[in-house]
Amino acid sequence: MKVLVPVKRVIDYNVKVRVKADGSGVDLANVKMSMNPFDEIAVEEAIRLKEKGIATEIVVVSIGVKQAQETLRTALAMGADRAILIEAAADVHTDIEPLAVAKLLAGVVKEEGPGLVLCGKQAIDNDMNATGQMLSALLGWSQATFASELAVSGDAATVTREVDGGLQTITVKMPAIVTVDLRLNEPRYASLPNIMKAKAKPLATKTPADYGVDVAPRLSVVKTVEPAGRKAGVKVSSIEELIAKLKDEAGVI
């Protein structure tokens, strides 16, 4: 079975995000970028499926600027077999919206014919949490979101989902889209010898036109603001006062 893993190049999770002066978005010039952590978990899961003999080939795909090549190389160094870059933007500040990404991925799926698509549940930059679900709708495939456990056997996948207040286990028919959550696995570091070998692995470059998809934005950003600073706390002089404040002012008890 072939597994397709979409990976997104996002601002590194360690970087302190700064809003551009005009409020049109986040400043990405000369900022460290990395693979979306949830996508890294998806790549790791695909590699584990291959190590178990369930997956036979892992194809990673990234949609965005040319520099997303580095993200694909990281996935190849971890253990993916081949990569597809769909160059859909020239400016690092251009974010391709989930619907366009899902349409492009649907095109890749039709071309590649994977038995499973493993995606991160969301990207940590815009937190849309939409691409996997949209892809499932476009293809008419089963979907299982927020996976914290995954077992594939025959033409079905058993997925444990992290839902509000607990876990839910479902079985879906293959082919399927599974979006992965934080606790599914702990991704490996690509070994140094594999990083050196990754450059020799195939990386195909495509454009949205190859799939007949218009990536023009449907949404417009009204404004972007930094989160409000935390207000100073207050000191209380007695437990009675604390309880009174929790009851009357905070309304939590």
Binding site: E70, R73, T74, A77, R188, Y189, A190, S191, L192, P193, N194, I195, M196, A198, K199
Partner: protein, 380 residues
């Protein structure tokens, strides 16, 4: 020389992430237990860190000196004990075989050193032989197709975990010309280990004596197969290692800068962070400037090495400056911390003790000065 900037970028980034996500958080544990968790050593093995400088033909990464320096800068950012685990396989424990070994010796040891399956170690120092490295007293006498070794080797890094030693012993006349380099397997009959050394710092590193009593090794254990070349081999090994150590010192200095800045920005005295007090700023500025000077030196020397230049003097200058510089930076970084810096709750306390070793091993600062002056005055 950087062969492929994109590949090296990925490599350095991975090492940086590994250091910051896995090693830095384990520093306190290593300090407390005086041991590196085996799980971390396994991760280092899986990552391929044992084979950085071993040629690709023998399963290593075959990094150029400049590339190796960039990786060493990252590894130097955490407790030196972690670097020490892979230090001998990438340096003194493997270089003797790489530079002077026979094809059979390379094929036998290097692939397993690159994978980390085998740990190599370097045994030159003795109870009475330190800076005067040519006066080795350990003896090796030929008996048929074997050599019989007798003597004691001191402060041998990674000896407690080593599988093979690059060991210097006397086969001929007095002086450097009578020294031969042997590859002595740790399970050779007659080889035993002393108790672990109790050191000032670099807790978690393993050192001890290696004792040879009528220790039998096969005749083909002579590196390169020729007697009397041992001193030259040892000097070649130490020459390359100097740039690696210098880069580690710069990494340590960089970490100390970051620790000092982090503390200075959060510690408030006289109503403002101490980072806003000029006398503290002076200490921070001196730390950063000297660290940068060390970085420039070691990068330049590594490029020259890769270009095939003779860099004996530059390598000694790098080792001298960077090790002494790391000591000064550690001293200032501790001073910035005030009384807190003297407490084991802050990393700066053990870094201060750790960096002291860099001025001593693989050639003291004074030996580096002698090498530099000798090179300066030599007629060429």
């Amino acid at each position: 020389m950087i062969r492929d900037a994109e590949i090296l970028g990925g490599l350095v980034e991975t090492v940086r992430r590994f250091v910051r996500e896995r090693l830095v958080p384990a520093e306190a544990l290593v300090e407390e237990t005086n041991a590196i968790p085996p799980a971390i050593i396994d991760e280092m093995r899986a990552l391929g860190l044992f084979g950085l400088s071993i040629p690709e033909a023998y399963g290593g990464l075959g990094l150029t000196m400049e590339e190796e320096v960039m990786v060493a800068l990252e590894l130097g950012y955490t407790s030196a004990a972690f670097r020490s685990v892979i230090g001998t396989n990438n340096g003194i424990g493997s270089q003797g075989i790489i530079v002077d070994g026979t094809e059979a010796q390379k094929a036998h040891w290097l692939p397993r050193m690159a994978s980390g399956e085998v740990i190599g170690s370097f045994a030159l120092t003795e109870p009475d032989v330190g800076s005067d490295a040519g006066s080795v007293r350990t003896t090796a006498r030929r008996e048929g197709d074997h050599y019989i070794l007798n003597g004691t080797k001191r402060y041998i890094t990674n000896a407690p975990v080593a599988d093979v030693f690059t060991l210097m012993a006397r086969t001929g006349e007095a002086g450097p010309g009578g020294v031969t380099a042997f590859l002595v397997a740790a399970d050779s009959p007659g080889l035993s280990l002393g108790p672990p050394d109790r050191k000032m710092g670099q807790r978690g590193t393993k050192t001890c004596d290696v004792i040879l009593r009528e220790c039998r090794v096969p005749a083909d254990a002579v590196i390169g197969g020729v007697e009397g070349q041992g001193f030259k081999t040892a000097m070649k090994v130490l020459n390359r290692g100097r740039l690696h150590i210098a880069a580690v010192c710069v990494g340590q200095a960089q970490r100390l800068c970051d620790e000092a800045v982090g503390f200075a920005r959060s510690r408030v005295q006289f109503g403002k962070p101490i980072a806003e007090h000029q006398l503290v700023q002076a200490m921070l500025a001196d730390c950063a400037t000297e660290t940068y000077a060390g970085l420039c030196m070691v990068t330049d020397a590594a490029r020259r090495f890769d270009a095939g230049e003779r860099i004996v003097q530059q390598a000694a200058s790098c080792k001298l400056f960077c090790s002494e510089m790391a000591g000064r930076v550690a001293d200032r970084a501790l001073q910035v911390h005030g009384g807190a810096g003297y407490m084991q709750d802050y990393p700066v306390e053990h870094f201060y003790r750790d960096v002291r070793l860099f001025r001593l091993y693989e050639g003291t600062s004074q030996i580096q000065q002698i090498i530099i002056a000798r090179e300066m005055c030599a007629q060429r």
